[in-house]
Symmetry: C2
Subunit: 288 residues, 2 copies
């Protein structure tokens, strides 16, 4: 495994590999790797000749007052974990390498970035699409793998890739959870023991929502109320949003049919956690 | 010479060429080719194994009320001219191919796009940077050639390429002029005979400005006044802007030292024309 720290070296390596006919798979991360990231690296490993993992805590996707400064970092540990999961190249640029002092250029996807997480984090997805464009141009992958825990992010990246004609396939990997159901996140490390207990309410409320839908409930407001009630029963929890939307357009559903994304963001103490689930309803046959 | 109409076919061809070690040179145009465009194709021809010319009248760089609908088009003529100048591939996508109905993604360079032409055309450069990103991702060139008549555009594209880590060299070619000095432009075709005469005032006023600077004038306002006076003497002319700026940052100069860009946009009748000149002052040796 090798570590590359500059864009130009990364590009040279990517060009050489592509000329040799090698398939480059890419997993962008902000480091502090957990099983969620590692599962994405393993997905890339299965399909690529060369797996590139980037580790970069991207300042432009954090808003003012968010946790950029205290975001957890452990590069040595990340190196070992990524290597064991199958990474060949770690792309590890500095903030100065990625954003010069006179930096001016941003990539923005409209509309679908203004919903769900985009409401409380209005500049977040602009930072994500900008850094992904930069990383794609540096790594030159044939495909990239994103986690479904950040469901909206995956939708936004797919849209950007299609709209901007990036010749890159976007693959998603399922949410990886702790044994008790909490979705893995580098931010779980912020939680106190009490908060860790309350954080389970995200997963539990998604279970409740799915069960209600499976039992026949089709009114998103009724399902949302059940989710909200459950989360509100936890002392350290404060809801950012609970939404039931179309998994592609991210538009609110009037009625739950076919496929629904239940997405939520909840502050547990000061830590903002997200989770989601797509519920598919097998369409019942219509008589006649 | 071949004509390619879809992004995926263009990408496949580009991938094949790159694997063969071929250098791809790219000249993006809106068609209705004139000697200005052809000079850029010839520059590309000298350095590339394969020259790709795109012909696409990009709707997103036109503002409301601008000349998108009447922008001149003549594809057959363009084919012959581009071929004679050295093009190997014409990339000729439809508007639907480039912008699907649910299109949502834009690339924006801040600050330097808000000056000069960006004042009267506030969404123009967003359209330019977006389409260039799309074209770069479709054509996958090693270098691209832009004309210096659109000086601000070239500055903006260079900034975008650097900021977004595009692995593409940006080359510029000098302004090509009619015998009497009028900068070549597809929009010159709009001019009536009287307007064609008045249009010469852009070139003439740049001559006047350079002469004033060569004679020792260092006050941009004095130089600008001479330019404005000359253009205002023409009946069909109405000034959009006359600016004297740093050629890199596009910031207004307080005093003309080293290098100055004199840039102007003038409506001749209903036709908006632009022209510019960079004046370099050889620094005089300081005694002692």
């Amino acid at each position: 495994m090798i570590v590359i720290k500059t864009v130009s070296q990364m590009q040279q390596r990517a060009e050489t590999l592509r000329k040799e006919g090698k398939v480059i798979g890419f997993v962008p991360t902000m480091g502090y790797l957990h099983e969620g990231h590692l599962s994405l690296i393993r997905i890339a490993r299965k399909r690529a000749d060369v797996v590139v993992v980037s580790i970069f805590v991207n300042p432009t996707q954090f808003g003012p007052g968010e946790d950029l400064d205290r975001y957890p970092r452990d590069f040595e540990r990340d190196l070992h974990l990524a290597g064991d999961a199958g990474a060949d190249i770690i792309f590890y640029p500095s903030a100065d390498e990625m954003y010069a002092r006179d930096y001016l250029t941003y990539v923005e996807v409209e509309r679908i970035t203004k919903r769900l997480c985009g409401i409380s984090r209005p500049t977040h997805f602009r930072g994500v699409t900008t850094i992904c464009t930069k990383l794609f141009n540096a790594v030159k992958p044939h495909f990239a793998v994103f986690g479904e825990k950040d469901f909206q992010q995956a939708v936004v990246i797919k849209k950007m890739v299609k709209d901007l004609n990036f010749d890159i396939e976007i693959i998603t990997g399922p949410i990886i959870r702790e044994k008790d159901g909490l979705a893995m996140s580098s931010r779980n490390t912020y939680l106190s023991p009490e908060e860790r207990q309350d954080a389970l309410s995200l997963y539990e409320s998604l279970q409740i929502a799915e069960q209600k839908i499976r039992e026949g409930e089709r009114d998103p407001n009724v399902v949302k109320s059940a989710v909200i009630d459950h989360i509100k029963s936890k002392k350290t929890a404060r809801i950012d949003y609970v939404s039931i939307v179309d998994p592609e357009t991210l538009e609110d559903l009037d009625s739950i049919q076919d496929k629904a994304l239940i997405a939520l963001a909840v502050y547990i103490g000061n830590t903002r956690l997200i989770d989601n689930r797509v519920v598919e309803i097998r369409s019942s046959r219509i008589n006649g």
